[in-house]
């Protein structure tokens, strides 16, 4: 698909939207037309390079940087060396850190796999047999902005203009439901740092940009702009739409409709349906009581349930942010701050996995959990000035080694990949860079990351730039 949008024929488009020629009474002559190379419908389903194991993605973004040694990377040595200097190299991070600090959370072996996990995520850790935990992640720098950009766009410089992973995936795969945007970013209460750049499409067409939804709003008209006409009840709007389409049809008959004009006729119908479908997708009240209870009737429960409703309806890529800014950034009081965040996130995430599994959706839905980096096993030292007061028993950013997990979508469950050193400071075995993660995610979705390219400004761009290797150890053989 070099150089232009994936080419989709008009005929595909019509069958995909369930609107055959007859539906709109278009001239039969048109049905023999091939669409021009200008892509009329950028969200029509695309073709993968090889059969995909995952068809959609839910990326749970613990923005701010969750601590690996307090969650899924158990380090008994940390207990022993608590309060002592790091034997060996003390890696540098954003701020100065001191002695090693044991986790305030309790670890135990879980599931049949016996993987160690802490009670920071009590319910999620009960599901380790479904998780593919990568303990050897590493990124390039210990700062939020570049690391967020790296994780989301594969290019860490904030001022480089690169499409986000969700945009790439939507570009490659299109959407399974044109009544909804293909890529949705749920973030309650505002935006993360670096803001909308986390989900923008950059040089890819705007159709692939993430639609940001502030899930703190419960009112649908505030969730998606222009989703409802405030001046016209639906029955009257239908009348209006019929008039528009009849005029379009009559005008088209005179000269023959060209593909652009025809595409617009269809998009009007899609928009009309979207008004209802989008309203419905975001209405978690429709879920039975037991499902709502499963997720918990909290902000995070609600947005995770929305995420499931969206992927269930064919949205390709859903990103679920913990909150505006960088909530997981616990420079101080890791016990209290991480504890609170874990409590907010745990039940909804566990519920999502359970629910997807029950519906048979987990099999081809890739769930990814993680932050832009992890945290130091050492305690952050107070720095003179503004931070003096709030650094107490907290941890600094750590890009040398961190943990993420994936579930479903063709990754092995109950599986741990890679190792960090004895203290969880640095990835040492089977090191997996963020580019490798991207390559692997695209692979699971059926794409060779070196071939999913877009020609722009004289170059073929790709999510992994010139890097990335697929880590096939993570992938199920089925």
């Amino acid at each position: 698909m070099n150089g232009q949008l994936p080419l989709r024929t008009r005929r595909d488009f019509l069958s995909q939207t369930g609107m055959g020629m007859g539906a709109l009474g278009l001239s039969p002559f048109l049905s023999s037309l091939q669409a021009s190379s200008r892509s009329l419908n950028p969200l029509a389903p695309g073709k993968t390079h090889f059969p995909a194991k995952a068809k959609r993605v839910i990326h749970i973004f613990a923005n701010g940087g969750p601590s690996q040694v307090d969650s899924f990377d158990y380090k008994p040595e940390l207990e022993k060396f608590h309060g002592k200097e790091v034997p060996g190299e003390h890696l540098s991070t954003e701020r100065k850190t001191g002695t090693l600090m044991k986790s305030p959370f309790n670890f135990s072996q879980k599931g049949e796999s016996g993987i160690w996990a802490s009670d920071l995520f009590p319910k999620v850790s009960e599901m380790v047999d479904d998780l593919c935990i990568i303990n050897s992640m590493h990124a390039n720098v210990p700062n939020h902005e570049p690391s967020l950009m790296l994780m989301n766009t594969g290019a860490e410089r904030v001022n480089l203009v690169r499409p986000s992973m969700g945009s790439w995936v939507t570009y490659g795969l299109g959407s399974e439901n044109e009544n909804l945007p293909g890529f949705v970013s749920l973030c309650p209460g505002g935006v993360p740092i670096v803001e909308t750049q986390n989900w923008r499409s950059a040089f890819l067409p705007g159709a692939y940009q993430g639609t940001h939804i502030d899930t703190k709003n419960t009112h649908i008209s505030k969730l998606i702009p222009d989703i409802r006409n405030p001046r016209m009840p639906r029955e009257l709007q239908r009348k209006q739409l019929d008039l528009i389409q009849e005029m379009n049809r009559q005008d088209g008959e005179k000269t023959g409709l060209d593909p652009d004009a025809e595409a617009r006729i269809h998009s009007l119908e899609l928009a009309y349906k979207m008004q209802i479908e989008a309203t419905d997708a975001f209405n978690v009240e429709r879920e039975p009581e037991n499902v709502r209870q499963l997720y918990g009737e909290t902000l995070h429960g609600r947005q995770m349930l929305i995420a499931r409703r969206l992927v269930e309806r064919g949205v390709r890529f859903v990103q679920v942010w913990h909150g505006a800014g960088q909530p997981w950034d616990s420079h101080s009081e890791i016990a209290k701050n991480h504890g609170k965040l874990g409590q907010e996130a745990d039940q909804p995430i566990a519920a999502l996995l359970t629910d997807l599994k029950q519906r048979g959706l987990l099999e081809d839905t890739l769930v990814i959990w993680g932050g832009e980096f992890g945290r130091t096993p050492t305690v952050e030292l107070p720095t003179p000035g503004a931070n003096a007061a709030n650094t107490k028993l907290g941890r600094d950013h750590n890009h040398h080694g961190f943990t993420i997990w994936m579930a479903g979508g063709g990754v092995k469950g109950g599986y741990q990949y890679g190792k960090s050193d004895d203290f969880g400071f640095k990835a040492v075995e089977d090191r997996m860079h963020v580019h490798d993660l991207h390559a692997t995610i695209l692979h699971l979705l059926g794409f060779d990351h070196e071939r999913l390219t877009y020609r722009y400004a004289g170059r073929d761009f790709r999510l992994t730039d010139v890097h990335g290797k697929v880590v096939s150890d993570l992938i199920t053989q089925r």
Binding site: Q34, P225, R231, E235, D260, A263, E289, P384, G458
Partner: protein, 962 residues
Amino acid sequence: MVCTKTERPLLPGFSFRAIGVAWLLACTGGAAEEAAKPSTFDTESIRFFENEIRPILAENCLDCHSGTKAKLGLQLNHRRGWIKGSDYRPVVNLENPAESLVLHAISHTPGKKVKSMPYEKEKISDESIAKISRWVEMGLPWPETPGAAEEDPRNHWSFQPVKPPTIPEGVHPIDHLIGEAQKNTGVAPAEKADRATLYRRAHLALLGLPPKFGELSAFVADSRPDAEAWPALLKKLMKSPHYGERWARLWMDVARYSDTKGYEAGGRERRFMHSYTYRDWLIQSFNEDMPYDQFLRYQLAAEQLVDWNKPEKKHLAAMGFLSLSKNGRSELIIDDRIDTTFRGMMALTVACARCHDHKSDPIPTRDYYSLYSVFSNSLEVGTPTIGEPKSGPEYEKYLKDLAKQKKVVEDFLKPKLDQIAKENPELASDRTRLMNKLDRAARRELQNKQRVVDKFVADSQMEPAKAIILKQKEKPSGHAVLIRGNPARRGDTVKRHFLSVLTSDPQPIYESGGRLEMAKDISKPDNPLTTRNIVNRVWMWHFGEGIVRSVDDFGIMGERPDHPELLDFLAHWFVENGWSVKKLHQLILTSRTWQQQSHNSQEEKNRIADAENRLLWKFDSRRLELEQMRDSILEVAGSLSDEMYGHPVRILEKPYSTRRSVYAFIDRQNLNPIFRNFDFSNPQESTGKRPNTTIPMQALFTMNSEFVQNQAAILGEKAQSQKDGVGWLHRSVFASEPTENDRILADSFLTAFESESSALGPRQTNTEWSYGWGSIDFKSGKVKFQPFPYWTGDSWQIEKEYPIKNSPLSYLQARAGATHPGHTNNESVVYQWRAPDGMTVSIRGVLERSSVGKGNGVRVLIASESSGILFDRVLDPSGSKLVTSLQDVTLAKNENLYFLVDPHENNSSFDSVRWSPQVFDQSGAWPKSGLAETFSGPATPATPWGAYAHALLNTNRFLFIQ
């Protein structure tokens, strides 16, 4: 040096002869240059290479070190690569072969600061090492591969001088050349479009606005022949000031125009404050038809071209082209400027050569850093005032307030600096150095205080117009090549010069800072890229596609011109005609090629021959761009403001501006998604061609947005007062009379809409729901319902005061999903749901009451007009939840269903409840309707005429250029 001689025996039996210079290495300089000459070797040495060496390389080296993605840039798959070495250093030493780095690497020689090779694999056999050593000693014999000796990319079409074809007398040159191209292809051009179509097309193309009916009809009725009337019309249109507004915006895509710098951490002010002066300069320049070469030079080096003491000082604003770049580290700002300049003005992707020689085009990294040096010698210093200084009481007040604001900063700073000066008396007189000594906390605080001042200045918009300029350094310096683009790895320092592919040998060196010289080189009449670039872009802006479709890449990876002769003709003609863009429009728009209909009677046949219409056998119709669409809506509704210039306005936020879209505030970092939904350019980087997509989000905007609805309502209101409303609307919106069919459709729509609306009766909201209070007769099930009259913005209630003291109405109120009844049964909360059609429905919902154990609970009822009470339960105070579900409720069209919360036995204490019942049509024909999801404020119902006007604004007839 070994290879300076053309022929030299290396070993008995081997000879080595240079045969030419590979372009790739022409500019890499240093010892490698001469050695790079491809050579011929005798058969024996070639056989040695093929049999002994090539297998070793293939097995051990080439996985990582071949092709364009070779590690360290070291390509070992051809001899050139061996000679060139890695991006960092040579790997063979032909004078002293034993000291070749490559041999140290494979021999794992200790202490040579080179990684052992093959990387992380076992050492190759001693025998193999010996063979490689011998091969290096032999001078790297390698077979000449005929044909693989790269075609010199300098011969690529776009670098060749413009060669205009000869055009016979008496023909339109465009039509002649397109006609020639169509010959023998089986493709036939379309008919000429009628005057009305062409008038509208030209109006939108040149002014970005739809025509007015009166003017269009006058032109259609003009008795002069087309050959006279049409050119005169084009001239007239281009005199309109709206012309500059349209064409400035197109160039703003090229210039990645934005009113903000991009991402700034820590809440620092992002607005440029004076970006608009560049936009205004563009508008004026297009309107004045400034010669394009001068237009380019001003944008690159106005500060060296104009007299700062004369009115021509206004041209300083042109430098926004460079200065409105993304923020960030200096090397990225410079990269952005190089990219925007060369991709925008010459369709060359020079920025690809930042980290390595361009992978396909003849642009070595040294060229990049030579241009880099031009920009690194240009500093952002000061913003000279170019507008009238302001005056008057408002301005006086602004100055006073500003002084106050600045004083806050100074008051904060002074004691701190005094303290530092006391401790460091030697710095006392140097404020900059004193500032440098501020501690982190003080700096942060200073930043916070400064931010407030910056915001105040930006918000006030009281500063006189200023130009954001660059200035040359007094003493320009060369710049080192940054190896692989890494500022920490410096290579040779390069001199400032223009692109080597376009300059003769020896290269003229820019002695001064070089920006003016570069501007002159770019705008030279014989620069084949510059002239082809602009005529190609103007062509694209008229036809939707360029003659070269990759409009910002004329390199080897880009497309070839579909009509090379036409491109060269236009480029040449353009320069001959004084670089006049207006004349170019005149030439294009008088061609039959442009004047074709947007449909062709031989469509099917033509498509088979040329599916993409590269042979221009019709005019491709297309959707209006965002700006054209928005401006058209405002124009036909009579709302468009003709105010020109000035500070940007936010066009997608309330109160909706009626200014033209060119004046929109463009936020580089957080552009409102609606812009990109309509394929607006990405303000992060220079845009060649906007994408062309059709997605439902676009339709949601035209169908539902308040902005479009407002304009439709204005049109509707005017139409209603006309004798012939339908005719008036068609003339206003389409600049044409309605057809008979249009009238039939209009009449039936207006009638149906009217009658449906009145059947629905006056409505509190535009949903099926109404919110109010009243009572129910527990026996008959008859409900008394009164809608709440007062809307607070998020809740319905009796009046503004809440709660109402000393009244049984007290806490009565309805919010989305939450409510509270009044004191008695007479003040129950009542929600009314009106069935939009006859249907059988089910009802779901859970009522929740949080004050468990307090008060006496609530009584919950559901009733329909025809069946009376359907549900009647009491939630007693011990319970917190009550499931309110029903099945199989049959309703007639427009029949009401009531949902009541009764305080139960006239005790409303602690009766705050949450309830969001939902109604489902069991047949599935109607979507479900939930109280909370649809909860809305008062209806501002569309009138039939407003709805009709709104429909017209949504037709393809209005939204497309035909």
